[in-house]
Amino acid sequence: MSAKTNEPFTEEQWLKFVQQKQLKFVECQDCHKMSVIPFAVCTTCGSRNITWKQASGQGSIYTYTITAVPPPELQAIAPYVAGVVELQEGLRINGIITGVENVNSYPADLVGKTVSIEFLELDRKSILAFRLNA
């Protein structure tokens, strides 16, 4: 059993990690199922042999959008690029994409471009983001 009592396999803990500027996922040590949505019992094989893993933070843009009409909490950074990133581990995760030039003039297709993890700080909250690699 690799479960540490101070890091339970909960969504609340995943959110805590993000606030600590860490992207983690769970992995089943028996069947190696990985998931960004944590579980304490493997949803594939039923094993309780679960561990938290740190994501490499490297990946590529699977899809994205440039949001001109933001929610009130993100007004400060609008227009912004929101995307789904495919991590090197094979998992996908939503995040803000930073480092895109000329957002207002809608640049050419960014799908497949590589990115590296970073965290934005907004209203004292940490937000998962990925920076377009130079």
């Binding site: 959110l15 949505i37 959008t65 949001t67 933001p70 929610p71 995760i93």
Partner: protein, 428 residues
């Protein structure tokens, strides 16, 4: 363990029928004219009259309602609406599966009928979104997404459908946004053409006429001008998005062996397949973003239950008209592939080439769709049935009436594919 087919589109042993179905006019704007209860009452009264049903005939009331809790501070909507309809004293429930609530309501009605607990079920969808501040509307619409994995990282609801659009354009148009966005605009143009004939639509007007009213004769100039068609979430622009809508819709569903079916109905429409299933939430976890796997799975099961070969030509030989979930134009592209009406890599092209217009290979959204008819979230699934029943009974205006219909299909999605329903109807 049950088979996938028996779990998603179970056998309909009591041969359920829709005895009556109705929808209110769909409206929008800043001023509210009707409440949840008014809209539900109006639609349900008409559906019950059509079915020849008196309150004592109804064994179960199902209310589909999505936004009331957030937008109107109103929960417990089932008794609220029962009161209006003289249905106090029977079981009732309210359910919410985002934009698929109406169809999930129908599917749930069928479970009660098949279990023998009910002979006749009234399903009512009702939604009020006018007179609510924009920030609240945004918050409410986002509530169908994932509050921890999507919303904090800027994935708005239009944004998530824009991300489907981007990936589709990447795969089908080699990332050529100009070409892809033009194909998407063709869907909006087609929907508005159909809505012109729909007296109950929120926007019964073509985009060409809208442009002319603003002094622009070239509709493509109008659609490509960021002042008249601004980006909401790239690559989706204003005319790619369905509006916020007030509306109600209702239907009476009965077992063919029920006394009501024998006695009073003027016409009955048979439900030959009802499929409901669940997909990934958040969106990013889904195996693909050029298809909604739950919708594909529901379609497969519905076809199998209806005895239709799951292959584009075979489907279109039987299914002659469909209402699909086009909350955004990109959603209609997803639907064309998930229903297997066109090969997955041809869906953008099919939309652009008019193959889904009235007179085309398979007319899609002859009502105007969510885009032009309006999208009162929880009422949408039942309103789709209203249009299809009108089609099957030959009651649509001639310009949008499809001829020689065998079967009609409804495709209704909740959120970004977390919920999906496909229903297939047949005239008795």
């Amino acid at each position: 363990m049950k088979s996938e087919l028996d779990r998603i589109a179970p056998p309909l042993r009591r041969n359920p029928v829709i005895l009556g179905v109705a929808q209110t006019t769909f409206t929008g704007g800043k001023t509210r004219t009707r409440t949840l209860r008014d809209l539900a009452g109006e639609a349900a009264t008409e559906a019950m009259m059509e079915a020849g049903a008196k309150p004592e005939d109804i064994d179960l009331l199902i209310v589909a309602q999505a936004a009331g809790g957030i937008a109107l501070n109103q929960l417990h909507t089932a008794p609220l609406i029962a009161e209006r309809l003289g249905l106090v004293g029977i079981p009732s429930l309210r359910l919410e599966n985002a934009c698929a609530s109406g169809s999930v309501g129908l599917h749930t009605a069928l479970t009660a009928i098949e279990a023998g607990w009910a002979d006749n079920v009234l399903v009512v969808g009702t939604e009020v979104l006018s007179g609510i501040p924009t920030a609240m509307i945004q918050k409410m619409i986002s509530a169908g997404g994932d509050a921890n994995y999507e919303i904090p990282v800027g994935a708005t609801f239009p944004g998530m459908y824009a991300m489907f659009g981007t990936r589709i354009i990447h795969e089908q148009a080699k990332g050529n946004f100009k070409e892809g966005m033009e194909a998407l605009a063709h869907i909006a143009l087609k929907d508005h053409h159909n809505a012109v004939y729909n007296k109950k639509a929120q926007f019964p007007i073509s985009i060409e006429e809208l442009a002319q009213k603003r002094g622009v004769n070239d509709v493509w100039a109008f659609l490509n001008d960021p002042k008249t068609n601004p980006v909401v979430s790239w690559p989706l622009r204003l005319f790619d998005c369905s509006p916020t809508t007030d509306g109600g819709a209702a239907c009476v569903v009965s077992a063919t062996d029920s006394a009501l079916s024998f006695s009073s109905a003027k016409h009955a429409i048979k439900i030959i397949a009802s499929a409901q299933t669940t997909g990934d939430l958040p969106q990013c976890v889904a195996p693909t973003l050029t298809s909604l796997p739950a919708a594909r799975q529901a379609a497969k099961a519905a076809y199998k239950r209806a005895g239709i070969v799951d292959e584009p030509a075979a489907i279109k030989k039987r299914v002659k008209v469909a209402e699909v979930h086009d909350c955004f134009t990109s959603a209609e592209v997803l639907a064309l592939g998930d229903l297997n009406l066109f090969p997955q890599n041809e869906t953008l092209r099919a939309a652009k080439e008019g193959r889904t217009a009235v007179g085309g290979e398979i007319p899609i959204n002859t009502s105007g769709g969510l885009k032009a008819k309006g999208h009162p979230i929880a009422a949408t699934g039942i309103a789709q049935l209203f249009t299809l029943v009108e089609q099957l009974l030959g009651k649509m205006p001639p310009a949008v009436q499809v001829k020689n219909i065998d079967l009609a299909l409804a495709h209704n999605v909740g959120g970004t594919g977390g919920s999906a329903c496909v229903n297939i109807l047949e005239r008795l």
